[in-house]
């Protein structure tokens, strides 16, 4: 074998071994995540979590969400559109995964707004201003107070609530559930308890469609049984 071929063949072997490693590793991780979602199915939805859309919808998207995360911000309008276009068949449950420095403070502020029924307004303002306050090396989540100043909040009450025990409890429970479900990246999606494996808009939509079909067919058989 000529030396050039030997070099090229070695590169090919290492690249193939790498690719095989990727397949094995992601397969094992997927299995772990699926198993975690099955054993901790009660950790997916808690009564305290904000819900967008019809609360009685058949399909539930659980999103582990970090207000400082750019991908979460980019996904927000996509998920909202999926819920809006579903005619009440899909709902979104927001859980928190404050993985970045300062994210917990941001969560506290928008949760304080929720106590005054201004949650989605505050969330959308915070996401719109994300480039200003959420620099990962120097986060300034307290700037969110400035951008939600005019949505009609009792600011004194909101500032007190943000550090209050109710919000503490939400954060603590969500972080515990995040760990139990092995969510380590945001946004982390589960659709009717199935973790989204391939990250992206199209895979999320496909998973929602699949669950909608499943729900539709199981309802038909129920009707027949009657």
């Amino acid at each position: 074998m000529s030396r050039k071929w030997m070099v090229l063949a070695t590169v090919a072997v290492v690249v193939l071994a790498f690719a095989a490693g990727v397949v094995v590793f992601t397969g094992r991780t997927n299995q772990e995540v699926t198993a975690a979602a099955q054993t901790h199915s009660d950790a997916l939805v808690r009564p305290h979590s904000p819900i967008y859309g019809n609360p009685a919808a058949k399909v539930t998207i659980v999103e582990f969400f970090d207000p400082s995360c750019e991908a979460c911000s980019a996904f927000y309008p996509i998920v909202k559109r999926i819920v809006n276009a579903s005619f009440g068949q899909v709902r979104l449950v927001v859980r928190y995964a404050p993985l970045h420095h300062g994210s917990d403070t941001a969560v506290r502020i928008i949760e304080a707004a929720r106590l005054q029924d201004k949650y989605w307004e505050a969330l959308e303002r915070a996401l719109a201003a994300q480039p200003q306050w959420a620099a990962h090396d120097r986060p300034q989540p307290l700037l969110i107070w400035d951008v939600i100043g005019d949505i009609g909040l009792d600011m004194a009450k909101a500032r007190a609530d943000a550090d209050g025990p109710a919000v503490d409890q939400v954060l603590r429970q969500d972080i515990a559930d995040m760990q139990a479900l092995k969510v380590n990246r945001t946004p982390g999606f589960f659709v009717n308890g199935t973790p989204l494996r391939d990250f992206g808009e199209a895979p999320l939509k496909a998973l929602v469609e699949q669950e909608l079909k499943k729900e539709g067919s199981s309802q038909k058989t129920e009707n027949k049984a009657r």
């Binding site: 030396r3 050039k4 070099v7």
Partner: protein, 152 residues
Amino acid sequence: MSTAQSVGPRHGGQYATFWTPLFLAWLLALLATAGALFLGEVMGNTPCVLCWYQRIAMFPLVLVIGMGLFTSDPRGARYALPLAGVGWGIAAYHLMVFWGVVSEGLVPCGQGSSCTDVDVQVAGLVPIPLLSLAAFTGILVLLWFSMRRAKA
């Protein structure tokens, strides 16, 4: 004209004995690069600052030594040597930091993952800087061999 520049017979011969140690050095660099990328990109361990400096020394070795192998040019070893030397130094420093020989205060680890975390271990057993130091040591020895054989 020196013999080092006139070598390059494609079918082996006494002048081309530099090739095998150079190939082994390259193989080490290639495996270390693939391993580092696997740990970082697939297993999701964020490299710490010192890990990044070692990567900066290791990754180009694959290309520099690889070019030497491809053209049967013994000078590849000469150009790879400073990179491998610098990488060795950083790996040694990182290992001393990891084992606590050098105090944490001197560590240039600000943001991101810590250079002394348990995360810096493969399978919770072997510290990554130790692997790195072993790879750089092997590469240095093999490069030295290759250069000596090229001169002989």
